[in-house]
Each structure stands twice: as C-alpha cells, then as structure tokens.
C-alpha cells in the first residue's frame, strides 16, 4: 500500500451501522438485544422490491450469531429467532447526517458529505492540528455521543486514506503511513471501498477479501476484467486517488427583509427602500452569474394584514431598474388601509437563459416592456380578469381559470374538445335569470328585463349533470332556441329557475 506522507491533514468521521444507529434513536432497544435494520422503509420504494426485506446493518451481537448484511429476513431469523428487525427511518437518517455535518462545521468550513454516515474534513489550515489530532478525534466522538451516536475518526494525509483509517479505527486512528497502521488498513475488507455489486461478486469468487490482496493485483488486469469500477477500487486500495473534497456549501438565499422603525404610508419611500434591497440582491446574483426569474414581495401592515405577490419577469435579468419598474407598476395600483411596517423581497435565481426558440414560434419583441404592460393591464382590470384561459378538468359549463400570460405551459395535456359544429356561443357571465313560459313542456316565451320574446324554434332538451358525488353536484336541462328578435340563445333550467347561458353567433 502506498504510504507517502503529506503536509495536509484530513479527518474522516464515520458512523458505523449508520441506518441502525438512526433507527435506534427513534426506537431504543435494550443493550443486549439482537438487532438488525432492513433495507427499504416500512413501505419499500417502487422498483426496489428486490432490496426490500434484506438486512442492511446488524449490531455486533447479531453479527456474532452469523447475521450479515445482504441476508433475507428468513435467513436472518433462521440464525437467531430472537432477532429484532427494525425498519429504516429516512427522516431520522437525514437528521443524523445533518448533525454529523454540523459537528464537522464546528471544526472547519471545508468538509464534504461523502455518503450517509461519513464525512471528511480538511483540517490542513487548523493551527497546530498535527499535535492535537488524537484530542480532536476524541472531542468529536464525545460531541456525537451526546447525540446518541457512536463515531469513529480517522486521520490521514488525503481523504481516501482518512476514510479507510476511520473504518479501521476502534475509536481514533491516525494513519501516518508505514508500520502497524498500514497493516491495519491492509486488513480491511474490500467492502469498505463500496465497489459495485458485480465487482464485489467477482472479487469474492477470486478469493480477494482484503485491501492488501486487491492492491497486489496487476493494474492492467484489474482494468481489463473489472472495468472502471474495479480500477477505481484498486486505486483506493493502492493509496487513494488524490481527489479533492466536494465541499458542502450553505444555500444562498436571495432574500432581504427590512423592519421599519417608522411605518411607511406612501409609495416613494417604499420604492427607495426596495431599490436598496434590489441593489444588494442583484449584487449577490452577479457574484454567482445568476439572474432573477421572479420577485416575491411581501408587505406587512400595521394592522397585521399582509400583502404577498409573486411577480414574474418576462426575461430573467439582474438589472435593478427593470426589476424595480416591475415592482413600481404593481404597487402603483395598490391601496391599503394601514401603513407598511416591514418589507420582504425575495428573488428567484436562475441561470441566464440560453434557450433556442422553437422553429415555428416567434418570441416577443420586447419582453421586459411587455411584462410592464401586463402589470399595467392587471392594475386596470384586476387579478383574474386577464391572462390566458386554462380549462378545468370538469364538465361543468364555463369551467376555466385565468393563468398568467407568461406562465409556462403545464406538461399535462389540457382538455381539447373544441366544438366542430354550430356557431360559437357567447356566454353571459353570470348567466341571466329569465322567466320562461312553457307550452307542451317546451319553452314558448322568454321574459327578461321587461321584454318578452317569443320562441320561434327550439332544440332540446339536453340533460347535463356532474359532481354528483359531492356538495357541488349540478344538473341542467339545456335548450337551444331561436327567438323573435332573430337571435339564437342557449337556455337552461337549473332546478326550478331558468337562465340564459348566452347567445350563439
């Protein structure tokens, strides 16, 4: 095994039997119990029925009884009838991993979440760490023990060796290279490298069980017979791949909140404040080469009410003037009963658009100006009075909702039952209540607003109903009539009253 020394110091924190430790935090068991955790939760994920019900981790007592990872439930129970089986707890595992990373974060900002139950820290920049490695490792173990977690810590010059050292450690192992440490690592089973199952099976058939045996194989032969996965495992066994850590970076929020000492009643000071917030947020976007796709504005008023609005930007941008203009247009038409006491502005980041328009689609000439026009139209018409119509999945007449014109098209196909016959119907909204006189059970006269129209011809009735399974149940008797004024109307009876749905033309 390669034992070159390095000036860098890496530490790996490993939680053995990670899934079992997480499950035991939720359902504690007695110390002498024979325990194992099954792969897959209480309800195994779709497509993983083969993995469901197999032993993932077993405690030391269970391993002494011959219960090993990979066994089926029946195989495990056959070896020990007193075996207690636990299910994986995905939420708890996430929490445990988060606690592990928080512990790492207290030592250094440069750490990697390698896999569930394992994280690697780069402590090279820590002053005097070489002399304090043992104490550092013990301190980490003590801290995690307060969270009911058993950890093992390994130190080495590179991340891969540190991981192997953590697996070989009983508590804390410092791998300097050479001597008993190397022997300890060489005796580790091949499984600690997590090779692909196919590679693992071939190595087992070859009788290769330890890292030393794997490292003794010729490189070309391993690459030719085991492929890239096998070569990667061989490199790890030989002395690591010299890789860099994939550092965990906290999520950046593009959100600013301002609490006002003196509530704001007019638009100008509010816009001034919003401009300053936009300057900060746009600078943050520019640092990461991002642009804003939408603005989420939340105003809290003195009387406790809130106003929230998501404003989409036609063409994602980080231009403060453009973003402020969108906010200005929206706020211009707004009225409130109380003054504003706090403002929250959040930008939704996205990558600069590099999309190519479809061949038979023409984009807008000036998307930013169009977005402003839409905001002005919304201020003029009101919310829900402009946009593009989306039909609802219902046979109720006139069932639709108004979607924003710039909203993307939903992936699911919408209803497409455009009538191919007859004249289009112009719907009265709401339908006009009318009086109808019947003759031989057919409409003969329509009376509305003091006017009486004779019905010269009528088609129908056509019976429609829906939503019979809930309180919104409806049913209608629909007639198509020609009136004496020359117009063609759609008349409907709902219960006991008649309405004019609309006029054909």
């Amino acid at each position: 095994m390669n034992t070159k020394t390095s000036s860098s110091v890496h530490a790996a924190i490993w939680l053995p039997r990670f899934a079992l430790q997480a499950a035991l935090r939720v359902t504690p068991q007695s110390s002498g119990a024979v325990l194992a955790v099954l792969d897959g939760g209480a309800e195994p994920a779709a497509g993983n029925e083969a993995g469901a019900g197999r032993i993932m981790h077993a405690n030391q007592i269970a391993e002494c009884r011959g219960i090993m990872p990979g066994m089926t439930t029946s195989q495990a129970m056959a070896r020990c009838m007193k075996l207690t089986l636990l299910h994986r707890m995905a939420d708890e595992e996430e929490r445990v991993q988060q606690e592990l990373l928080e512990c790492a974060d207290r030592w250094t900002p440069d750490y990697e979440s390698t896999e569930p139950g394992l994280c690697v820290l780069d402590l090279s920049a820590a002053r005097g760490i070489r002399q304090r490695r043992l104490a550092c490792g013990e301190s980490i173990r003590t801290e995690l023990a307060t969270h009911s977690l058993e950890a093992r810590v390994g130190f080495a010059g590179d991340p891969d060796h540190a991981c192997l050292a953590a697996h070989a450690a009983e508590s804390v192992l410092i791998h300097e290279g050479g001597g008993s440490d190397s022997t300890l690592l060489e005796k580790l089973p091949v499984a600690v490298l997590h090779p692909a199952p196919a590679v693992m099976e071939v190595l087992r058939l070859w009788g290769v069980h330890t890292l030393a045996q794997l490292a003794a194989l010729p490189r070309e032969g391993v690459a030719a017979r085991l492929g890239a996965d096998g070569l990667h495992a061989w490199q790890l066994a030989k002395g690591g791949t010299g890789r860099l850590l994939q550092r965990v970076r906290p999520a950046v929020l593009f959100c600013e909140t301002t609490e006002l000492e003196h509530p704001v009643e007019s638009l100008e000071p509010l816009l001034f404040m919003l401009r300053r917030m936009l300057e900060t947020l746009c600078r943050r976007l520019a640092e990461r080469w991002l642009v804003a796709a939408s603005e989420h504005l939340r105003l809290t008023f003195e009387d406790g009410t809130q106003h929230e609005r998501l404003l989409r930007v036609a063409e994602p941008t980080r231009d403060e003037d453009l973003l402020l203009r969108v906010l200005h247009t929206h706020l211009d038409g707004m009225r409130s009963a109380a003054a504003v006491k706090s403002v929250t502005l959040e930008l939704t980041p996205t990558r600069q658009s590099m999309r190519q328009n479809l061949l038979f689609e023409r984009s807008l000439r000036d998307p930013q100006r169009f977005a402003e026009t839409l905001a002005q139209l919304e201020a003029l018409f009101g919310i829900g009075r402009m946009g593009k119509p989306r039909l609802l999945s219902s046979h109720r007449p006139d069932a639709f909702l108004m979607a924003g014109f710039l909203e993307p098209t939903p992936p699911a196909p919408t209803r497409n039952d455009t009538p191919s016959h007859g004249l289009p119907l112009c719907r009265f909204r709401p339908p006009r209540t009318v009086g109808v006189s019947l003759h031989q059970h057919r409409p003969a006269f329509i009376t509305t607003a003091g006017t009486t129209l004779a019905i010269t011809a009528a088609n129908g009735p056509c019976y429609l109903s829906g939503d019979w399974w809930d309180r919104q149940a409806w049913s209608r008797e629909v007639w198509e009539v020609a009136a004496s004024d020359g117009a063609l109307y759609q008349l409907a009876r709902e219960g006991s009253h008649w309405v004019l749905d609309g006029v054909f033309g």
Binding site: N416, P419, H421, L423, R429, A487, G505
Partner: protein, 229 residues
C-alpha cells in the same frame, strides 16, 4: 389670403422635423390571408385598423373571431390579444394551442376595452389585437369619441399590429376596410360543421384606398350582393 411668414416657417420646420407625418403615402403593410373568403376580401393588413359590423349576432361574427384567433393561414403562430368588451368569450371555441398564446382581457365596459386596446397597441408586442364590442350596450359604444379611434389607428400603424374591431353597428370612422355581415343563421346552423358555416358567410365590404378613394367590393359566394355605402 397669404399666410403670415411665421406660419410658413413653422410648416417648413414641421415638414423637416416630422417627414413621415407629412407623407402622402403610408408605408406598405403586409397582407394577411386567413383562408376565409369574406375576411380575405377585406384585405386585412398588419398595422391597419379594420371593422366587422354585425347587425344580428346570429350572422356569425364568432366564426370570424375564432378564425382570427386561431391564426388561420399563418405558418408561424403568433400571440394574439382579445379585448372582450362584454366578457362573453367562450374559451372552448378555440383550440388548446390557441389558448396558450391568447391574451384575454375581460372588460367590464367599452371604455375599459378601449383603455386595454390602447395599452396593448402602445406596447407593440402583440401582432394581432381583436376587440369584441358587439354585446356592449350601444350607448357605451356610441360614447367613444372619434379621436379615440384615430389614436388607435395611429398606434396600430406605429406598432404594425393588425387591429380588428367587432361592432354591432358602424362605429369606427377611420378603418382601412369594413365588413358588414347581414344574413343571420337559423337554428339549423347549430348542427352544421363550422368550416361549412365559415365558408358560407356573406357580407359586403367597403375599403378605403390611397388618396381617400373608396372602392366597393362584394364578398361572399356565390351571389353578388348590393354595394354598401
């Protein structure tokens, strides 16, 4: 009477500063073909204002509106705006593909419709703006002053948008062409295919040409109709 010198200077200055306003001819506009005979007889053009008059709703203006919304004849489908003066549009009457590129303004009255059309034409992003004022109360439509229509016409010319106004009576004074639908349909029309109904729409067309010359064309097949003034 000879104009004062200052007036002449002002006219010369205006002619120099705003040559397009003094031009006797408008720049040529792109012709739009929809595939419907009566619409094509109107000579629809981008950047122009047109009017479709329908004295009786049952004459079928909805068919023409649906055809213009669907963008019949267009190889590249463009967004379209519908200024619905009385909020009577039925989304089921157009295809799903059309609904995705339709901006529908649901107005409360004719005055709000005019404001909406004004904003859209000023914006210049919508290549097609349709106004449906047929079911608006006559009094509210008559109250729209002529200068408003002139302004909309100039905005349409500037933006290059096709602006088509549907009215129940002759309203717009400055249109490029006007189609008057006259013959209402009977109840049997509700069972006939829409393509057949659209092809059989009949009306008279009045076009205004260059130099304010009027031309009378007839539309509809197969019988010629009397010219409308």
């Amino acid at each position: 009477m000879k104009s004062p010198a200052n007036i002449t200077d002002i006219r010369e200055l205006l002619r120099t500063r705003f040559p397009l306003a003094q031009a006797a001819e408008l720049p040529p506009a792109a012709e739009i073909h929809t595939g419907l005979a009566c619409l094509d007889q109107m000579g629809l053009q981008a950047g122009r204002l047109h009017e479709i008059v329908c004295h009786a709703r049952a004459a079928g203006p909805g068919l023409l509106l649906s055809a213009l919304l669907d963008g019949g004849g267009q190889e590249i489908k463009q967004p379209v705006a519908l200024v619905d003066g009385a909020d009577v549009f039925n989304p089921l009457d157009v295809s799903a593909e059309t609904r995705e590129r339709l901006l529908w303004l649901r107005c409360r009255d004719a005055a709000q419709a005019v404001k909406g059309a004004d904003l859209l034409l000023r914006d210049g992003n919508m290549p097609r703006v349709l106004m449906d004022l047929i079911l608006c109360p006559d009094s509210t439509v008559r109250r729209i002053p002529a200068q408003v229509w002139h302004r909309l016409r100039m905005l349409a010319e500037k933006s290059g948008a096709l602006c088509c106004v549907f009215t129940a009576f002759q309203t717009v004074p400055c249109v490029r062409s006007r189609l008057v639908l006259t013959l209402p349909h009977g109840l049997d029309a509700l069972d006939r295919p829409r393509a057949e109904l659209s092809a059989q729409l009949r009306g008279s067309v009045v076009c205004r040409g260059m130099g304010l010359e009027t031309a009378l064309r007839t539309a509809g097949m197969p019988l010629p109709l009397a010219a409308a003034g």
